[in-house]
């Protein structure tokens, strides 16, 4: 059963299986394991980013396309649901309608960008997406009468998902099942389903063609596959999945703004997560996203301690300053592109084969 749920794509490494199982269990029971809002926020963020990073891996790892517009689609999802809930009232209908519009807009945009640039060459696509995405981000903050500008929009979610809604108590666990926990599970199960769907896609014949294009597009073309068609479809699929991740994020955070969805910093985060976790395997997205977000939340605290401890030395405390955590992840990123391009997952699988 597990075999078919994972579409036959097993982790193929004992340590990796254990890690994935641990992540799955912790995320699945997060509201029961931890108290307070910080850990559950982190758990929800991990779920959202797993989807986002997996969709990006579909492009970068499986098809070999470098796009810098992924946060744009993430933002379209966030703004679609967010603005619909803001403008049309907090009902499921408006959330659904907003999501539908966002999906259509995202797919059309992905199609148009793909059509313009995917037939040319990889490097063109990277540059064009970079330009388009930053223009989109600026546009979103400029058109403030619709989007709320830099401040973004806070909105109310449907009644069922609000923290005030209490469904029932679980006195045995000392837990009250409220709208917040319900939203968490909405996010969690959406993420799980989307990840399994992505696994299904990459292990289908279609996914194999994508990998063939990644390895040698010329040869794939010669074998009779229409490369531009496959790339465009992969592009639209990844965009759609990113839109869904954006919608999940909007439902969870109950806020949409340029800094949380559209900023280039998030694009870099996604890139780091994919590469550190492992390009070309969706498990890499899971590992990368989890590690990165844990590092984001907890590495900084560790660095603060280290910075304190070395405060007598010159320059070192500056290098270890908590705000410089991205420096170290950047170095890790460069090292991983050089020395283990298949990321943590690839390394773990290699170790398993070596035994």
């Amino acid at each position: 059963m597990i075999q078919s749920a994972l579409s036959g794509d097993m982790p193929r490494s004992r340590i990796l299986s254990l890690l994935l199982l641990a992540i799955f269990l912790v995320l699945a029971f997060a509201p029961f394991l931890f108290s307070g809002s910080q850990p559950i926020n982190t758990a929800a963020k991990i779920c959202i980013f797993i989807v986002l990073v997996a969709s990006y891996d579909l492009l970068l790892g499986y098809t070999g396309i470098v796009s810098f517009a992924h946060t744009m689609f993430f933002g379209i999802g966030g703004y679609g649901v967010g603005l619909a809930l803001y403008g049309w009232g907090p009902t499921w209908t408006s959330a659904g309608l907003g999501l539908a519009i966002a999906l259509v807009v995202g797919a059309v945009l992905a199609f148009v960008i793909g059509l313009l640039s995917l037939r040319v060459r990889a490097i063109f696509y990277a540059m064009i997406t970079l330009a388009v995405a930053s223009a989109f981000a600026i546009l979103a903050s400029q058109l403030s009468e619709y989007t709320g500008g830099e401040d973004g929009r806070s909105f109310r979610v449907p009644q069922l998902l609000r923290p005030g809604t209490v469904l029932f108590d679980l006195p045995a666990l000392g837990l009250r099942i409220d709208g917040r926990i319900l939203s968490y599970y909405l996010v969690f199960f959406s993420a799980l389903l989307l990840l399994l769907a992505a696994l299904r896609i990459v292990n289908s014949p279609f996914g194999r063609v994508l990998q063939a294009i990644r390895e040698n597009d010329f040869r794939a073309e010669a074998l009779g596959y229409n490369v531009v068609y496959y790339r465009t479809v992969a592009n639209c699929l990844a965009a759609g999945m990113a839109v869904l991740a954006g919608a999940m994020s909007a439902i969870w955070v109950r806020y949409t703004g340029p800094d949380t969805t559209l900023s280039f910093a998030i694009m870099l985060d996604i890139l780091l997560m994919v590469v550190i976790g492992g390009m070309g395997t969706l498990y890499g997205a899971v590992i990368g996203a989890t590690l990165f977000i844990l590092a984001q939340n907890y590495l900084q605290k560790l660095m603060a301690v280290a910075s304190e401890a070395t405060s007598a030395l010159p320059l070192v405390p500056h290098l270890l300053h908590p705000d410089r955590w991205l420096l170290w992840l950047g170095v890790l990123f460069i090292l991983s592109v050089y020395f283990f391009p298949s990321g943590i997952v690839g390394k773990l699988r290699e170790m398993e084969r070596g035994r």
């Binding site: 330009a131 460069i334 592109v337």
Partner: protein
């Protein structure tokens, strides 16, 4: 069999026809904007501002496009050199504040010259290191190049925070370059005129070096066909390192000018310009210096006119410009090597 006609030896080789159509776009765009803007004085101010901005973008973009043309490496970390150049210039200008504050133009220019030289040397050396450490292991692998230069950008930007701190820094314009020269009704800001002069000088020097010297000949040949140049016994590797250093130094120069233009400086300064730089390179045709020059002017004209007419869509207008040009010529205005 076709009979070959013999040419008299005195005849020149048939020249490739000059493709001047793209050159016409800029004046057409400028003239089309005139009735929309209405007042000719505003139009002149905007056009001069656009030319100044275009020259700064050109200085930054030319190095990048040349690096790409010669060695097929697109350096996404180019933005880091812009920022580092600007920060180095700031560091040099700080102790020279007496010269900067003074109203004497000669002292102002001397201070600026020192700052620019420091910035160019600094970014040149950094470019050399960047090529060695970051780029060299991934030649010929586009995907890794994009990723690794992006990683270099992240690290460089963080190091700026470590060295210079993350807060916004002032970058005062020297006293003698403030204000404007008025000719009749038209007010021309002095610094913009200086920027145009510097940009034009860089363009002309670059054209002369590329077209009139042996190094330039080798660079152009390398852009066309790298292997053939290598086969003829030239070390294209060294040539490339040289171009990389020169390109990085130009980014330092451009970054200094850009920071003076905005009069403030943050670590993210490179990122803001890089979007325009990428649009310029795509419009001009990857690897083409002439196309880059033209693209920079077009993008700057568009940005300034729409910034005046409809400020909210100023950036989007440049995307539209890029889309329109790519529909017309999918490889950019002046496509160079197809690789």
């Amino acid at each position: 069999m076709a009979t070959t006609t013999l040419r008299p030896a005195t005849d020149d080789l048939p020249k490739t026809p000059r493709d001047l159509l793209p050159v016409l776009i800029a004046p057409v765009l400028a003239l089309a904007a005139l009735p929309l803007i209405g007042s000719p004085t505003t139009w002149v101010t905007l056009t001069v501002a656009a030319l100044a901005m275009g020259m700064m973008i050109f200085v930054i973009a030319s190095g990048l496009t040349l690096i790409f043309g010669l060695m097929d490496v697109l350096n996404f970390g180019h933005g880091a050199f812009i920022a580092i150049g600007a920060y180095m210039a700031m560091t040099v200008l700080a102790p020279l504040s007496g010269w900067v504050q003074s109203d004497a133009l000669s002292l102002n220019l001397a201070a600026l010259l020192l700052a620019v030289i420091a910035a160019m040397i600094g970014t040149g050396v950094l470019g050399w290191a960047f090529e060695r450490v970051i780029v060299r292991p991934v030649y010929g692998q586009h995907l890794k190049q994009i990723l690794i230069t992006m990683g270099g950008l992240i690290v460089a930007e963080q190091l700026i925070h470590v060295v210079w701190g993350g807060d916004q820094k002032p970058m005062p314009l020297p006293g003698g370059l403030r204000g404007a020269i008025t000719i009749g009704d038209f007010a021309l800001e002095k610094f913009r005129l200086l920027a145009v002069a510097v940009g034009l000088t860089v363009f002309i020097v670059m054209q002369l070096v590329l077209n009139r010297t042996k190094v330039g000949l080798l660079i152009r040949a390398g852009v066309e066909n790298r292997e053939m140049v290598e086969a003829l016994g030239y070390r294209i590797r060294q040539l490339f390192v040289g171009v990389f250093i020169a390109g990085s130094a130009l980014a330092g120069l451009g970054g200094t000018m850009w920071a003076l233009y905005r009069e403030t400086l943050t670590a993210a300064i490179g990122g803001d310009v890089m979007v325009l730089v990428f649009i310029v390179i795509i419009i001009g045709g990857l690897g083409s210096v002439g196309g880059c020059f033209l693209g920079a002017i077009l993008v700057a004209l568009m940005a300034n006119y729409t910034g005046f007419l409809a400020p909210k869509i100023a950036v989007a207008s440049n995307i539209l410009l890029m889309v329109a040009i790519l529909m017309w010529r999918p490889q950019g205005l002046y496509p160079v090597a197809r690789r």
